[in-house]
Symmetry: C2
Subunit: 351 residues, 2 copies
């Protein structure tokens, strides 16, 4: 059924399709639904307080006994530049006024921490089959502890150099994340000089550079894309946008609207939302933010947060990828089944 | 041998592989070698004076009786902004001094014209099997005249919207050019807001939007990429970078050096070279030019021209794509044969 079983064997899954972790969008119900359907459900845990994390882990365990993936961020703790607070309040003052919301008064504190001791302790008590990381990896001790607990480690690379770096530090498979991907780019080695590598060029070069399985991510939302990823040498795919409007996902009117509007040309990479580059629905607001130097990730959320609730109809903050228009519909399990069937059909067309 | 024969049938070729036209790099010998090997050789004619064009057409006809493609640019004639000349001389003064070359004294005249009456007349007298265009299409009368002469018309789209526009105006097949592609981006509908669509997301969405065959271009330099393009629904591929160092191509030390240096992350899109966005080898010079608003295409060549000859060793102006590292070696026919064989092997791995 699949021309390459390395990822299925490594992760203990039936179909080499990982539902991408999307912090704020994934739910225990979505994760369990995908895993129960034979894919790998992934929960975006980066923004969860540790008590919520523990609760969600329990919910997932109740809903599935299949492998699941828990995802965390490994960003450097942010430093607020001198003057950044006043500068950003000034830059966004017209927007706060237009939206009728009060600007944030206090200096920001990070809304969430990088992966650290508290989350590690939860994972070691309840080891998931898979843990994935964005923006690099945790420190070597944490990686070793997770691996000793039987956890398979994944992380995202946006370049060959990042893939080699991750493999050398213990990643069991590499997620090759192309320029097309929605949400946060995993770029971490040289954030100031993002080489913007498209998935088509990235996957085969990562495949040549590492010996672990490669998972293609970004711009894949149908079976043809899955077949193409295997043609490029990937052993599986990670798909996010195709699941954002599943009924099991956290309800987000922005996503529903953006999904209807989603086109090949309807997104842009921007640092305006969080402080790191992320692919988002393009709006006048996003274009206008091009001239504003953002706060360090994730402090920028502090400044845009008041606008999110106030101005949902403009879809200012919907994060999705360049292939949104290709996504299947229905419940998560139906979407996974459609992706599997379409991929088989695509393989068949190549024979 | 190929899972989709629409492009082969349309163009009268054995293998659905188009060697990309690359103005200044392609030669009659390269074009003929590729066509004689069963692909479609393409000559980048945009910068050729009409007498040279006529001579090259004759040379190609001497060297092959297989289908060939002649390529032209359909850019708007440039307008030099008031003050641009003084501004650019000022911005580049340190570079002229460092390179030991005299700055251009006169206001520029376009080094070459958009496709027009003179080139059309040559094509109607010696109709090639295929003519392809970049930056849109010639006017409707020219398209009609070419089609009446039996010429098959191709043009590049970087978005679904551009593909639909081209099909409506008579394109017989659409070249879907991804963000990964080396050289000039074909973007023409909204040059100021390039949506930067990666090939992986672009091809299937163009395939759904048009009824003519779709040719995938950008980031393809090996057989796995060719197989992936077919998986995405393409009926063929256009490949440039894989041929730039063939011995039949115009010898360019920049290309040879860049080919050796070429990595997934070694290029950037820049308007510094010509005035339009093009993917080039990344150098300190290219990074430094990010703050300089270029002259309108192609007037910018007038300002960077003196630096090209003087400073070849820095590879400042080598245009190539994100998959350069995957390219085969040898003579053009050997490269085409390797691409064909590798593609068959890639199809085989999917069975």
């Amino acid at each position: 059924m699949w021309p390459d079983l390395r990822l299925c064997d490594l992760l203990g899954i039936e179909h080499p399709i990982i539902q991408a972790p999307m912090a704020g969008t994934t739910t225990p119900a979505l994760v369990a639904a995908v895993s129960n359907a034979g894919g790998l459900g992934s929960h975006g845990c980066a923004t969860l307080p540790v008590d919520v994390l523990e609760d969600h882990v329990a919910q997932i365990a109740q809903a599935t006994n299949r492998p699941v993936n828990l995802n965390f961020f490994c960003h450097a703790p942010p430093v607020h530049g001198p003057g950044d607070h006043a500068r950003l309040l000034d830059a966004l003052a017209p927007q706060y006024a237009a939206a009728g919301v009060a600007p944030p008064e206090a200096m920001p504190v990070p809304g969430f921490e990088p992966f650290g001791a508290a989350a590690l302790e939860v994972l070691l008590r309840h080891p998931p089959k898979v843990a994935s990381f964005h923006f690099g990896l945790p420190d070597a001790d944490a990686v070793a502890a997770l691996k000793a607990a039987g956890v398979t480690i994944l992380s995202s690379a946006t370049t060959v150099a990042e893939a080699v770096w991750l493999e050398a530090r213990g990643a069991d498979a590499i997620i090759a994340q192309g320029w097309e991907a929605g949400g946060h780019r995993g770029v971490f080695l040289d954030l100031a000089n993002d080489p913007q590598v498209g998935l088509f060029a990235l996957v085969p070069q990562v495949v040549r550079a590492v010996s672990v399985p490669v998972i293609a991510a970004g711009g894949i939302a149908d079976g043809a894309g899955i077949a193409a990823a295997f043609a490029l040498g990937a052993a599986g795919v990670q798909i996010g946008t195709a699941f954002i409007t599943a009924p099991e996902a956290a309800p987000k009117p922005l996503h529903a609207a953006a999904s209807a509007l989603g086109r090949d040309d309807s997104t842009r990479i921007s640092r305006a939302v969080s402080g790191r580059p992320a692919r988002a629905h393009r709006t006048d607001w996003l274009d206008g933010m091009a001239g504003v130097t953002p706060a360090a990730f994730p402090l920028m959320y502090h400044y845009v947060g008041p606008l999110i609730g106030a101005d949902a109809e403009t879809h200012q903050f919907s994060l999705y990828g360049q292939a949104a228009a290709l996504a299947p519909e229905g419940r998560a399990a139906d979407r996974l089944a459609a992706l599997v069937a379409d991929a088989q059909a695509a393989f068949g067309r190549l024979r």
